[in-house]
């Protein structure tokens, strides 16, 4: 790794391994992701794509190795500092992870409320993001009343409302029809264009290949098999 690359790296993994009950989900992964990159993590189910994302936002701790996020060593982050780290990420999940008894507006606003933003700023920002994602009219709706595509748009809105420097998306199009999947991908690309580093884990290689310009990291059995640039 040369000096120039080190300077621009926002995420760095050094020999990272993750074991579940003795079984390796990630094996000796070393990776360098530059600021503003669009990373596509592909591979079959159970390859370790989700685990790779989980160790980045500390939903799981690594068994071995080290991870640096913007120079911060995740192994040294105290539990009290963890929320501050997570606020740097915007996360999109396959199962959306929306709070069912809170409205669309409240779900999106939660990120800014947790960050201690002022109510007037929250109102302005949330409505802006909902407008961008086409969910403005559904602001008062509860997530269970929305379609899968709409719920994922809300999840994307929540992921980007805090203007995170890194967006992690775990199978964001997995349970969506092709139209909704395309829409979600467009939003992610839009925020990528604004400077965010985006990591998308998906097995839907075809959809991404035809849309995304970035780097494809192919994982199999917890090992990085191949890295290729998609044009």
């Amino acid at each position: 790794m040369d000096e120039k690359n080190n300077k621009n790296s926002i995420i760095r993994l050094f020999n990272v391994s993750k074991r579940y009950n003795g079984k390796l989900a990630l094996k000796d992964v070393t990776l360098d992701i530059e600021q503003g990159e669009f990373i596509f993590i592909s591979g079959p189910s159970g390859a370790g794509k989700s685990t790779l994302l989980k160790v980045l936002y500390l939903a799981e701790k690594v068994s071995e190795g080290q991870i640096l996020i913007d120079g911060m060593n995740l192994a040294r982050i105290s539990s009290s500092r963890l929320p501050f780290l997570r606020r740097r990420f915007g996360m999109v999940f396959q199962d959306f992870k929306l709070i069912p008894n809170r409205t669309v507006y409240e779900n999106v606003a939660l990120v800014l409320e947790a960050a201690g933003e002022k109510p007037s700023y929250i109102r302005k920002k949330v409505m802006h993001v909902l407008r961008t994602t086409g969910m403005e009219k559904k602001a008062k709706a509860l997530p269970p009343t929305l379609s899968g595509g709409e719920q994922q748009r809300v999840a994307v809105a929540r992921a980007v409302v805090g203007e995170p420097s890194i967006i992690l998306a775990d199978e964001p199009t997995g349970s969506l029809d092709s139209k909704s999947a395309q829409m979600v991908l467009d939003f992610l690309m839009e925020y990528h264009k604004k400077g965010a580093t985006v990591l998308v884990a998906s097995h839907n290689l075809h959809l991404l290949e035809s849309n995304v310009r970035g780097r494809n990291i192919e994982i199999k059995d917890g090992i990085i098999e191949r890295t290729a640039t998609m044009l």
């Binding site: 939903a59 539990s79 606020r87 939660l110 409320e113 947790a114 929540r158």
Partner: protein, 291 residues
């Protein structure tokens, strides 16, 4: 604070059944505790009034003569604040006795001599406690021409000992109900937490701090405690208004009973205590869950 308050109210609304049960349980415990406290407040007051409003009878020895009266009065007055002091001669006392025993006055006619002693009836300015009266009576009894001092020490003393025993039992029961309420509140918070496990997980994932996550639960606990206490007081007031008039009417022909509701200070203490109970139950529960 306001967003947490609004959130807590919204959570109470969305988990209406669970919260109503908790508030009802707290109010029930508070009601039991308040009934005891009200009983003790009233009983203490009534006992004080039975304590003759600080009245005492000083029986004088046979050596007493009327010319000694000014000196004795001065010495008794010097011992403490006396509101009123009336000399009752043995003849006056005998006449009173005759009046009181009018139906059996024939028996009194058989007496050769007046057996009653000269006496002084006093009323003390300060008679806040039985112990105070007891101490003062002891000082009077030490005077040489004083035979005895009667201030209801026999039956009142015994009654007070029983009452104190009852008070200890009451406090034990109050503590027990407090613990029950605490246990139920703590379990309700635990249930609420588990029912919102997904919400808590999502909050953590989007960068919410532990304090941000806990705050609505604490607020909910405080509100449950406050409303539980308030409801308990309202129920107690209704019970008081319904029952007290009945009791007063029934017992009016026998004794004068003035049953009063809890003092404002006590009401505030109970509501504050109940609010604290809600918070503390929440604290215990969250400390265990988020260990």
């Amino acid at each position: 604070m306001t967003p947490f308050f609004k959130k807590a109210l919204a959570d109470i609304r969305s988990n209406r059944f669970l919260n109503v049960i908790t508030i009802f349980t707290i109010s029930l415990s508070i009601l039991v505790v308040s009934v005891f406290l009200m009983f003790f407040e009233n009983a203490s007051r009534i006992i004080e009034s039975w304590n003759q409003g600080g009245r005492a009878m000083i029986y004088l020895t046979d050596e007493f003569s009327l010319d000694m009266l000014p000196e004795i009065k001065a010495r008794i007055n010097a011992l403490g604040d006396i509101d009123e002091m009336v000399y009752i001669s043995k003849e006056q006392a005998f006449d009173r006795l005759k009046k009181d025993m009018s139906s059996q006055s024939a028996f009194l006619k058989t007496l050769k001599d007046n057996p009653l002693p000269d006496a002084l009836e006093i009323r003390m300015k300060f008679h806040n406690s039985y112990e105070e009266v007891q101490r003062f009576a002891g000082q009077i009894k030490a005077l040489e021409v004083v035979e005895d001092v009667e201030y209801g020490q026999g039956w009142l003393g015994k009654f007070l000992r029983i009452f104190n025993l009852f008070k200890i039992t009451g406090y034990a029961m109050c503590s027990m109900f407090f613990l029950i309420a605490l246990f139920i509140t703590s379990n309700t918070v635990r249930l609420a937490f588990y029912s919102r496990k997904l919400e808590v997980e999502i909050m953590r994932l989007v960068g919410a701090s532990e304090n941000f996550i806990k705050a609505p639960f604490y607020m909910e606990g405080l509100l449950q405690g406050f409303f539980g206490g308030l409801l308990g007081m309202v129920v107690l007031l209704i019970m008081y208004l319904t029952i007290s008039s009945g009791i007063t009417q029934t017992l009016a022909s026998y004794i004068y009973v003035d049953i009063r509701f809890l003092s404002v200070k006590m009401i505030l203490i109970i509501i504050l205590g109940s609010t604290f109970l809600g918070w503390f139950g929440c604290y215990l529960s969250l400390r265990q869950i988020l260990k």
